[in-house]
C-alpha cells in the first residue's frame, strides 16, 4: 500500500538555514530521502549544489554522518566505506544493524564525471544506494551544460541552445541489470519515499534518479518548482518507473496511464513555456517543430520502456 503524505515522518535531515537557493530541489529531495532512510546512514557527497550549500567547517546543515569526496569517486568511495563497515562488523567492532551507505550526487557526478565509478560499482554489485538529483546542468558552478542537459536548452556554455541530445542515464543503469532502480519526481513525494524505502531493503547496488527543476538554471519563478516537476511527469518528459535486474516491474502513477494509453500526455507546451532556457525555440516560428520533435522522442522512449517490462 502506497504511503500518504500525512504518514511521512516529521524527522528532518536537512536543517533550516542552509545555503541553498530558495526553492532548491536538491535540499527538498534530500529531505524526503532522509525521511525514508532514518538516521542510521553514511552519506558520501561529490561536488554539487548540496555540498556548496551544506555549510563551512565546523558547521553542517545535515543530520547525517556525511563525507565530501572527489567528483569522480562517489560510487567507488561508497564501495570502500561499505566494505570497511562489513569488515568491522565481521571483526566484532561494530554491533547491531549496519548503516545504510548512500551517495548523493548531481547529474555531473552521475552522468559525466562519476559515471565510470558508478558503472564499475554496478558491475561488482556493491551494497549501497546511489542517488542522482538531475537538474540537467552544472548549476553549482554557474549552469554549464552537462550530459543531462536536453537538446535546445540554453546554458552559459551553450547560449544558443545545446545541439546534442541528452544521455539516457536510467536506461544505461537498467542495462547494468542492477537489483533495484527507480526514477522519481519531487512532485510525488510519497512515491519517492516508497521507492527509497524499497531500495533500502534490497541487497546490492540501487540507483534512484530524482528529477530536480532548478529555478536559477532553468530560468523560471521559484514558486513554480513543484509545478514544473509535475508538468514534466504529466507531459512524459520525466517517466516514473521501477526496475529489478534489468526488467521494468512497475510504472508509477501518472506515467502508468501514459504508457498504457489510458491517458494522454498534457502540459508539454506549458512546461517549456515556463522555462527561460527554451525561450529561443518557443517562438511562433520554431515552436511547432520543436514540440513535435520532443513528442516523438517521448513516444519512442515509452515504446522502448514498454518492451522492457517483465
Amino acid at each position: 500500500m502506497a504511503t500518504r503524505i500525512k504518514d511521512l515522518p516529521a524527522d528532518e535531515i536537512v536543517l533550516s538555514g542552509n545555503g541553498a537557493c530558495a526553492s532548491c530541489p536538491s535540499t527538498l529531495a534530500l529531505r524526503i530521502v532522509g525521511k525514508a532512510l532514518g538516521s542510521n546512514v553514511v552519506m558520501l557527497l561529490t561536488p554539487s549544489c548540496t555540498v556548496a550549500s551544506m555549510g563551512l567547517t565546523p558547521q553542517m546543515a545535515f543530520n547525517y554522518p556525511a563525507m565530501n569526496v572527489c567528483f569522480a569517486t562517489a560510487a567507488s568511495s561508497a564501495s570502500g566505506v561499505m566494505y570497511s563497515l562489513e569488515a568491522q562488523a565481521m571483526k566484532g567492532r561494530l554491533q547491531g544493524e549496519l548503516p545504510t551507505v548512500i551517495t548523493w550526487t548531481g547529474d555531473g557526478g552521475t552522468y559525466d564525471i562519476g559515471f565510470q565509478a558508478l558503472s564499475a560499482a554496478a558491475e561488482r554489485n556493491d551494497h549501497f544506494i546511489h542517488f542522482c538529483y538531475n537538474n540537467e546542468a552544472y548549476s553549482n558552478t554557474g549552469v554549464q551544460r552537462s550530459a543531462a542537459t536536453p537538446a535546445f536548452a540554453a546554458t552559459t556554455t551553450t547560449p544558443g541552445g545545446k545541439v546534442e541530445a541528452k544521455k539516457n542515464m536510467p536506461l544505461l543503469m537498467l542495462d547494468h541489470r542492477v537489483p533495484y532502480m527507480a526514477t522519481a519526481s519531487l512532485a510525488y513525494p510519497a512515491d519517492l519515499y516508497d521507492k527509497v524505502v524499497k531500495a533500502k531493503s534490497v541487497k546490492g547496488l540501487k540507483y534512484i534518479e530524482i528529477f530536480a527543476p532548478c529555478y536559477p538554471g532553468w530560468r523560471f519563478e521559484s514558486k513554480d518548482m513543484i509545478k514544473l516537476a509535475r508538468l514534466a511527469v504529466r507531459s512524459g518528459v520525466n517517466l516514473l518507473w521501477e526496475a529489478e535486474n534489468g526488467a521494468i516491474t512497475r510504472f508509477s502513477h501518472p506515467t502508468k496511464g501514459l504508457v498504457e494509453g489510458s491517458s494522454q500526455p498534457r502540459g508539454l507546451e506549458e512546461y517549456f513555456e515556463a522555462q527561460g532556457r527554451f525561450k529561443h525555440v518557443m517562438t511562433p516560428e520554431r515552436k511547432e517543430a520543436f514540440l513535435s520533435g520532443v513528442e516523438a522522442e517521448i513516444r519512442a522512449e515509452m515504446d522502448l520502456l514498454r518492451g522492457r517490462q517483465v
Partner: protein, 83 residues
C-alpha cells in the same frame, strides 16, 4: 591547539536566511484543511508538521507553499520589516 576538520549539525549554517526573503508566506487557519502539502514541499523544512507554524528566521520566501496550497490558505505578503 588541535583543529579537526569535522563539522557538526547545526541550524542556520548560512546565517539567518529569513533575511533573503522578499515576500513572507502567511497562513490563514480558517481555510486550511491540514493536507500538509506546504509541509512536505518546503525545501527549507521551516513549517512544523503539527502546528504548521512557519519559522520566519529561516524561511527564504520561495513561495512554493503558497503556490501548492489547494485552498489558497497561504498567501505571499510583501515583506515590510527586515526581520
Amino acid at each position: 591547539m588541535n583543529v579537526h576538520p569535522i563539522s557538526f549539525p547545526q541550524k542556520g549554517v548560512s546565517g539567518q536566511t529569513g533575511s533573503w526573503r522578499m515576500e513572507r508566506p502567511v497562513l490563514n487557519k480558517d481555510l486550511c484543511t491540514s493536507c500538509l502539502f506546504c509541509w512536505v514541499f518546503c525545501p527549507e523544512a521551516v513549517i512544523d508538521k503539527e502546528s504548521l507554524k512557519i519559522d520566519y528566521t529561516y524561511c527564504k520566501g520561495c513561495g512554493i507553499c503558497a503556490s501548492e496550497c489547494p485552498t489558497h490558505a497561504i498567501v505571499m505578503e510583501k515583506e515590510v520589516s527586515s526581520s
